[in-house]
Amino acid sequence: MVTLLLGIVIALICGAAGFWLRQQTKLTVVEVSALLALVAGLILPRLFTDGGLFALICTTVSYATMCSGKRIANYMDMLVTSLICALIVYFGQSVLVGVGGRLGTSAAISVLLFVLIKERLNPGSRQSDQGVKT
């Protein structure tokens, strides 16, 4: 349980950092995502016993930060998506093991779940497939 909670906290920090980088710098989506994943992959395994898992969570969150501004419009959106990412990676550790793209798939599921929840709670915010509010 401690691992999960710590994973969620790290995911939230990573998500906020990614959103800030997207908003405040001219880095491309690939650069932002790769930068976050690189820092997480180099630092977290050296800091924590479960650092490998935390690096996977951060990497997944970094992929979620590649969303268009219409899908994830503000920090709260990003934080909720990061939380979902952390939960999916933590509880899905034994699924598709060793399959490249697994983390990206987790990120996409998180984003789609978030969009679904957002639309359920606020039907007026329905988004089209192009990521544009209609």
Partner: protein, 166 residues
């Protein structure tokens, strides 16, 4: 809309994996059946054409996959660091869509050496990833993780053909 099946293959694979049948004959048949249905739908889309961009994306994706796999498994950098390095360096060299395709290839290359004991299936998955990027260009636009999902589609389909490894 039927071509969306292609991008849902990793989710189908995950469901089959939870049921522990993904790389059994039945699971492989289901995955390959979904891939065939999705690809037929892609090819029958109005305006579909096999242009040079398709080959270019396949090659870029292949390079990303091979580089990441070698960095990850031969230099022991680990999948996360290897793919991030390929993505970062690639972003300095390539522009626009090509950056995305290289990063997609890097996701394919994050696969375990236990899944791909030899390079040939990985190369095929890398090429397939680039193809799929072009073929499902209208799916999940603006969704973070889309590239990884396309990469996972390529990997799961190739593993369904080869037997799954491990």
């Amino acid at each position: 809309m039927l071509h969306y099946v292609v991008i849902f293959i990793p989710l189908l694979g995950a469901a089959l994996d939870i049921l522990d049948v993904l790389f059994t004959p039945v699971g492989r048949l289901v995955v390959l059946g979904a891939a065939v249905v999705g690809l037929i739908a892609v090819f029958r889309r109005p305006g579909f054409s096999l242009g040079p961009q398709l080959a270019k994306s396949a090659l870029i994706s292949l390079v990303g996959a091979a580089l990441t796999f070698v960095l990850s498994t031969q230099l022991n950098l680990g999948a996360v660091v290897a793919s991030a390095l390929v993505g970062l360096v690639g972003a300095q060299v390539l522009k626009g869509r090509d950056q995305l395709v290289l990063y997609l290839g890097a996701f394919v290359g994050m696969s375990s050496v236990l899944r791909f004991p030899t390079l040939v299936p990985l190369i095929v998955a890398g090429l397939l990833g680039g193809f799929l990027f072009e073929l499902v260009d209208d799916c999940w636009i603006g969704v973070g993780g889309r590239l990884g999902t396309i990469a996972a589609t390529a990997v799961v389909v190739v593993l369904a053909i080869t037997g799954g490894g491990l």
